[in-house]
Structure formats: structure tokens, C-alpha cells
């Protein structure tokens, strides 16, 4: 079963999550009662998702530039994960406004080429052989390893994704 032209906007609004709660309930009731319509929406969803990805790539290209500009992707003295406030006694130089941030991972100098020793430029607290034998970027920590949000962050504006 193909979606009709008139159904398109409603189905795409549903996939976007922009239907009103009433409209969403109505459509979900129709989907529950009509397996053919459900299948048509499922098939449409796959195409719609595939076409959303190039938009999202542009979003992350922009984000990369922003993170780089703010020093969050530097290969020198980079903070990556917040820790318990009690573990940190001074401001981190890369993030003077985040009092409780403490570098968990330090990587020095420029990245080396594939022919270099992959273990040589990791200094502290990161797996030194992040090669094909290791499935994760670093050992997992329990949630209590995380920082509690400083009050100053409460005023941070909420930024929406590219689709909103």
C-alpha cells in the first residue's frame, strides 16, 4: 500500500514529531487499526530517515567547528568528562568557568600517523592502545563519576537541532 498524496504531510509531520498530541493519538489509533497503513508508514520512515542524515551531517560539521573554536577538541590538555566536585580543587585552565571540571584525559601534541607508535602520545587516564582490540573509547564509569551541574549552567540557552 502506498501513501496517498494527501496523507504525505500528515505522515511526515508525525515522523518529525510536529503533530499535536490529539493528531498524534488519532494517527496512532489509525495505525493500530490498519496494518497496511502501518506498513506504508514504516516504509516511508526508512526513506525519510535516510534523507535526514545529510542535513544532520551539516549540523555536526558546524558543531565540530564550534567545539574546536572553544578548545573542546584540542589535542592538548583537553577536558572530556566532568568528575565529582570534590575531586577538583582548582579551575581547569581550558575551562575557567567550569570550576569542577577536571581533565580525565590528556593527549599531547599533534596526532601521529598510522606508522607511528600508537601508544606514545597518550599520557594519562586513557587506554593507550585504542586499536581494533578495544571496543570502547575508555573504560566505562558509573554515573556517579559525573559532575553535578553547576548553577551557572542553569542559564544556558537551550539550543535546538537543525530540524527545529
Amino acid at each position: 500500500m502506498a501513501l496517498t498524496e494527501s496523507e504525505y504531510d500528515r505522515i511526515e509531520a508525525y515522523l518529525e514529531g510536529t503533530l499535536s498530541p490529539d493528531e498524534q493519538r488519532q494517527l496512532e489509533a489509525e495505525l493500530a487499526a490498519d496494518p497496511d497503513l502501518q506498513q506504508a508508514v514504516d516504509e516511508h520512515r526508512v526513506i525519510w530517515e535516510g534523507l535526514q542524515v545529510p542535513v544532520a551531517v551539516e549540523y555536526f560539521q558546524e558543531m565540530h567547528g564550534q567545539l574546536e573554536e572553544q578548545g573542546l577538541l584540542e589535542f592538548d590538555d583537553l577536558w572530556v568528562e566532568a568528575v565529582e566536585p570534590s575531586h577538583s580543587s582548582s579551575e581547569h585552565p581550558a575551562h575557567p568557568h567550569a570550576e569542577h571540571d577536571e581533565p580525565e584525559v590528556f593527549v599531547t601534541s599533534e596526532p601521529k600517523t598510522a606508522s607511528d607508535d600508537p601508544t606514545s602520545h597518550i599520557e594519562v587516564a586513557v587506554q593507550d592502545d585504542l586499536d581494533v582490540h578495544h571496543p570502547s573509547p575508555e573504560p566505562d564509569h558509573q554515573p556517579d563519576d559525573w559532575d553535578t551541574p553547576p548553577e551557572s549552567d542553569n542559564s544556558d540557552p537551550h539550543f535546538n537541532g537543525p530540524d527545529e
Partner: protein
């Protein structure tokens, strides 16, 4: 896009981070990006890639992860940290890329991927394959259909503007959007030839 000095400070747990991702919160994605990128870049650079490869591959993986989260394809896994899932997903995509024809004849590839039966990246890899297929099929469509789909879905232009750009009436633009998307759908699901 302006990010706070510490994008992670609002997300002290994976549950809160995932809630931020579901809400398309820039800070949540910036946090996950910053937590994962350097490890992935190191992985790529020690596995036949450059920093540029790492950026491209990570942004593609991150974009697919974003859409999978947004559409509900990916749900928070109690057994794996988000950054670990994202790293593993991007890593598997990079390995696939290395194994593709572009790299296959230049250097041998000896890789090991640790997988369990309920590996949360399996669903993401299936999702990624579908994304690739959709975009490859789009490239095989007629020029006008490619243009209409690009303008509508990727550039996000309204149908009225598409009509102006393509020299269509607004109704024709709407119909073309429908017909071209249906054609892409038929190609994807193996129900029709290219017209």
C-alpha cells in the same frame, strides 16, 4: 550555535544525556561529540586513516546516530554507555569503509570486533546500511527528482520556493515531491525500475 564552556555539565548521567539527545539539545550532542571524537580520531589514525578521514567518518556516524535517536530506532541501552555505543558504531563503520573496494587493494586489514548477542550497535549498523542505500538510490534517480528531493528534504525549502526554482506551479512541485519520493521508496523496497 553557541555552546557553554562545559556542554556536559547539564547531563550528569547517561539517562539525562539521552533525554537531551531525544530533545535535540545542542549541548547534549556537543557533550557526546567532545567525549568521543578524540578517541575515534586516534583509532582512525592508527588504522589507515587521517584526521580528515576521522572527521568525515565521525560526523557521518554522529549524524546517523542523531537520526536514529530522534526517530526512536535507538533506545538507551542499560548495559552500555552512550559514548561507548557511539564509538563502537563509528568504529564498525570505519572498518566497513576500510574493507570497501576503495581500500581493499591497498593494504591488508586485520581487525577484530568484539560483539555480543545483544550488541546495541547491530541495530545502528542496519540503520546505517539503510541510510546508505537510500542515498545511493537517490543518486541513480533522474535529475529533476534528485533536485526536488534535495531541495525539499535536504535543503528544507518550502514547496512554493521549489516551484519557483524548478519553474513548476506549486501544485506540480507538490506532485513531483510525492511522485519522486514514491519512486525512491519503490526502488528501495525493490518494487520498481528507474523511470
Amino acid at each position: 550555535m553557541i555552546l557553554p564552556p562545559n556542554p556536559c555539565s547539564a547531563f550528569p548521567t547517561d539517562e539525562l544525556l539521552f533525554a537531551g539527545l531525544k530533545n535535540s539539545d545542542d549541548r547534549a550532542y556537543a557533550c557526546l561529540y567532545a567525549q568521543t571524537f578524540r578517541s575515534f580520531a586516534h583509532y582512525v589514525q592508527t588504522n589507515q586513516g587521517s584526521m580528515e578521514h576521522a572527521q568525515d567518518a565521525f560526523q557521518q556516524g554522529m549524524a546517523e546516530f542523531y537520526v536514529a535517536v530522534k526517530s526512536g530506532r535507538y533506545q538507551l541501552s542499560p548495559s552500555a554507555r552512550l559514548k561507548s555505543v557511539l564509538f563502537e558504531f563509528c568504529k564498525r563503520k570505519w572498518i566497513n569503509e576500510l574493507q570497501s573496494a576503495r581500500h581493499r587493494h591497498t593494504q591488508p586489514l586485520d581487525v577484530y570486533v568484539d560483539r555480543s548477542d545483544d550488541d546495541p550497535t547491530d541495530a545502528l549498523m542496519t540503520f546505517s546500511e539503510n541510510v546508505s542505500k537510500v542515498n545511493q538510490l537517490l543518486q541513480r534517480m533522474g535529475e529533476n527528482c534528485q533536485r526536488v528531493i534535495d531541495l525539499f528534504y535536504i535543503q528544507g525549502k518550502p514547496l512554493v520556493e521549489i516551484a519557483h526554482i524548478m519553474n513548476y506551479t506549486p501544485q506540480t512541485a507538490r506532485t513531483k515531491r510525492y511522485e519522486c519520493t514514491e519512486q525512491l521508496k519503490k526502488l528501495f523496497w525493490g518494487r520498481g525500475p528507474l523511470n
